[in-house]
């Protein structure tokens, strides 16, 4: 633990590896559209229960990395901002409506949106940062957001929990609507 404290104390050199990791860790958190969609994946997984509760957080990072790889390699993906905004809207509606599709369809929806999120991360590497560690950072941060969504989703077992989850889904959907309007303006 002392070694960890020492390392965290050391300020990252500008453009160095630690800067890349920290940039990656914080990148999903700096965009509310990303945060809402990641949380919604966790919420929806918790609503659907096993095996979706862990299948969706497996599918999302994997497809996100494919989208990010495309971004890193300079392959264009049309409508990224639109796709991200739609992801928050659609996932929010699915949570609000407690929609229960087949697992394969749920994973397909989540994986499809993950491509857009990944592409955005892949094209937004800060100048001079370490690409490899930046990538590790945003994968870990994404997973952590899913876990937070799942943790919130566990409230469904409490009295009024199911209704609260649906309300949270509604809030995510409203956020998605705002981002969609911003993207289309």
């Amino acid at each position: 633990m002392n070694a960890l404290a020492l390392l965290l104390w050391t300020p990252p050199h500008e453009g160095g590896a630690a800067a890349g990791l920290l940039a990656g860790l914080t990148h999903p958190l700096t965009g509310l559209d990303h945060v809402l969609a990641m949380l919604a994946v966790g919420l929806w997984g918790a609503q659907l229960g096993a095996p979706a509760v862990w299948s969706l957080p497996i599918a999302f990072p994997l497809m996100m990395s494919v989208g990010a790889a495309l971004g890193v390699l300079g392959v264009a993906l049309p409508g990224v901002e639109l796709g991200i905004a739609l992801s928050a809207l659609v996932l929010g509606v699915l949570v609000a409506g407690e929609v229960r599709p087949r697992l394969a369809l749920a994973m397909t929806i989540v994986a499809g949106f993950a491509l857009f999120h990944g592409h955005a991360h892949g094209t937004e590497l800060p100048e001079g940062a370490s690409g490899a560690l930046y990538s590790v950072g945003f994968v870990v941060s994404t997973g952590a957001l899913h876990a937070a969504g799942i943790a919130l989703g566990l409230l469904r077992t409490r009295p009024g929990g199911a209704r609260l989850l649906r309300a949270l889904g509604g809030s995510v959907a409203l956020g998605g609507l705002y981002f969609l309007w911003s993207a289309l303006r």
Binding site: L8, L21, I58, L62, A69, L73, L133
Partner: protein, 198 residues
């Protein structure tokens, strides 16, 4: 719990430490310790070893035991035999790909036979060892010996943690972790390809 904490400290040290590179880091303690640090500070190598440790642990004690010894041995042998500066970029790409594949196998909880697991782990270790050896600027076996022993220690710690917590929930956590490693592997491949494009 103490083992998990120790693992977290190593991970944090690795990921927040010096720039990841196939070139050896200079710890100032000598070539052997440079080799240990190299494993901990190279994402592709570190993630591969973690994935192999988890995969071996998921398959149980009997399957894990050969992996603990075959992987460091293969790593060391390949590192010693790889000619310097020969196709280092290509080897780095295959190393990243093997890291992704190992993560995917964990995510899928692949029911590998004992021999298949040993073969896959050895092959991955040969690739990474060769990549280390080809890119190493430090002569002699000491750095590679340090890397191989660090590999053994990390494999043992990781697989033991997984074997000790053989509950369905722990298995799911391991699989989710594997998907993260697979995702990182895909991205590491992309960065290697981008570097190759110039």
């Amino acid at each position: 719990m103490r083992g998990a904490r120790a693992l977290l400290v190593v991970l944090a040290a690795a990921l927040l430490g010096a720039a990841p590179s196939a070139h050896l880091v200079q710890t100032g303690f000598g070539a052997f310790y440079d080799g240990i640090a190299h494993l901990c500070l190279t994402p592709a190598d570190l993630l591969l070893v973690l994935a192999l440790g988890v995969l071996a642990g998921l398959r149980g004690k009997e399957a894990a035991r050969p992996v603990l010894f075959l992987v460091p041995a293969a790593w060391l042998a390949a590192g010693l035999l790889a000619p310097r500066a020969s196709g280092a970029g290509t080897l780095d790409l295959f190393s990243a790909a093997s890291c992704g594949l190992a993560g995917l196998l964990v995510a899928l909880d692949a029911r590998l036979e004992r021999r298949a697991l040993a073969a896959i782990a050895s092959l991955a270790a040969l690739l990474h060892g060769a990549a280390n050896g080809a890119a190493s600027e430090e002569p002699g076996a000491l750095p590679l010996l340090g890397t191989a022993l660090a590999c053994f220690a990390l494999l043992t710690l990781t697989s033991a943690l997984v074997v000790a917590r053989a509950t369905p929930r722990a298995r799911i956590v391991a699989r989710v972790g594997g998907s993260w490693i697979a995702a990182c592997g895909i991205l590491l491949c992309a960065w290697q390809l981008r570097a190759a494009q110039g």
